[in-house]
Symmetry: C2
Subunit: 201 residues, 2 copies
DNA sequence: GTCTATAAAGGGATAGAC
DNA sequence: GTCTATCCCTTTATAGAC
């Protein structure tokens, strides 16, 4: 993180790991201090309270999710490329940080206001461009009529849910971690096909 | 719950609501007692510890999820009917209990063993039937080659994720609760179409 | 800035009266 | 079976020395 002293940086790294793994309620300041190689008092010296430290971590984590989203919603490209990039980009990112989706969604459910109050949504997502692209394709008869909200939710559902449901999927289909990673990679190809198939006339 | 005295029943109802909303770490015995209209001591009299009370709630909640799953994996029917019933059944159930998926998946991630140790998986799900049905369709050329695991994960992702992502979806697409419910109902029709489309030759 | 020690509050669990 | 009172460990947060 920019503008952080080395100590702040250590705390930040440790807190990120602990909060994402345990959640706000499950995380312990002691564990964060241990992981950062300092003591509890220093946590409060730098970040004042658990709540404030959590906020820093939470919104930074959200920020890390932005690039692939903004690329999808803002960049000029054809529909299939956009979908392929989004799915590939997200699978790569979440593969490296597999606990982030559940962390975000879970904390968000407990405090929905938290989000509204602190997000600058319009700098992140503007539906008008993707809506416009879809409408053009619909009007020129290249795809069927589709509500852009379902289109987006379908794409995100297929991409992210497998990470959230990992323990159940692995349990029932008896995949080890390696097989599961393989399974996830296969989806980079499968999901864009499903999405594009679902709107073909 | 069967075999419960009226007091146990009250505790059970209150604990279910609180644990599902707050999670194991976030739940407070005091809040459960208040909601049940009794005091903390009685909770321990009947359920011994927070951990034991939680286990009761958790596994009962899992049991409630079973019928639609077993119907899908066990019942004799054609593929399209199976998918339609599964999607419809789950959307109905989760609409009535919208916080259950995140509750289950979140607790499961924190303690993956919890599940393995206590689930009688094979009474619940047996993949051989659905695999067999898919293979028959593939061999007779009515659908394309598809890994049954992706087929199942796709169906579940499209059905369940929108509930998990509700706060984000509502935030970005500016739907109120009524509109969101409408959005979810539309998916009963959309999801089976996508799934069946994705395997058409 | 960083530490040790400790205050202060929170929350699960139990004893004992009724 | 149900209550009040209380124990006691855990955890956040601060005071104060260095």
């Amino acid at each position: 993180m920019v503008n952080f002293t080395p100590t702040e940086e250590k705390i930040f790294e440790a807190a990120t790991a602990v909060f994402i793994e345990k959640g706000l309620d499950g995380a312990r300041m002691q564990e964060i201090a241990d992981k950062a190689g300092i003591n509890k008092a220093l946590l409060h010296y730098y970040f004042r309270s658990k709540e404030k430290l959590f906020k820093t971590i939470f919104f930074n984590t959200l920020t890390n999710l932005k690039p692939v989203i903004t690329q999808f919603f803002m960049e000029e490209d054809n529909l299939e490329n956009k979908v392929t990039k989004f799915v590939g980009g997200y699978i790569d990112f979440i593969s490296r940080n597999p606990h982030i989706p559940l962390f975000i969604l879970n904390e968000l459910r407990k405090k929905p206001d938290f989000f509204l109050e602190n997000m600058d949504s319009h700098k992140m997502i503007n539906f008008s461009k993707i809506e416009q692209i879809l409408n053009k394709e619909i009007n020129e008869g290249r795809i069927i009529e589709i509500d852009y909200r379902h289109f987006i939710v379908n794409m995100i559902s297929l991409t992210i849910f497998p990470f959230i449901g990992k323990p159940i999927i692995q349990f029932f289909s008896k995949m080890n971690d390696e097989k599961f990673q393989q399974f996830i990679l296969e989806r980079k190809k499968i999901i864009p096909e499903i999405i594009m198939n679902s709107i073909r006339p």
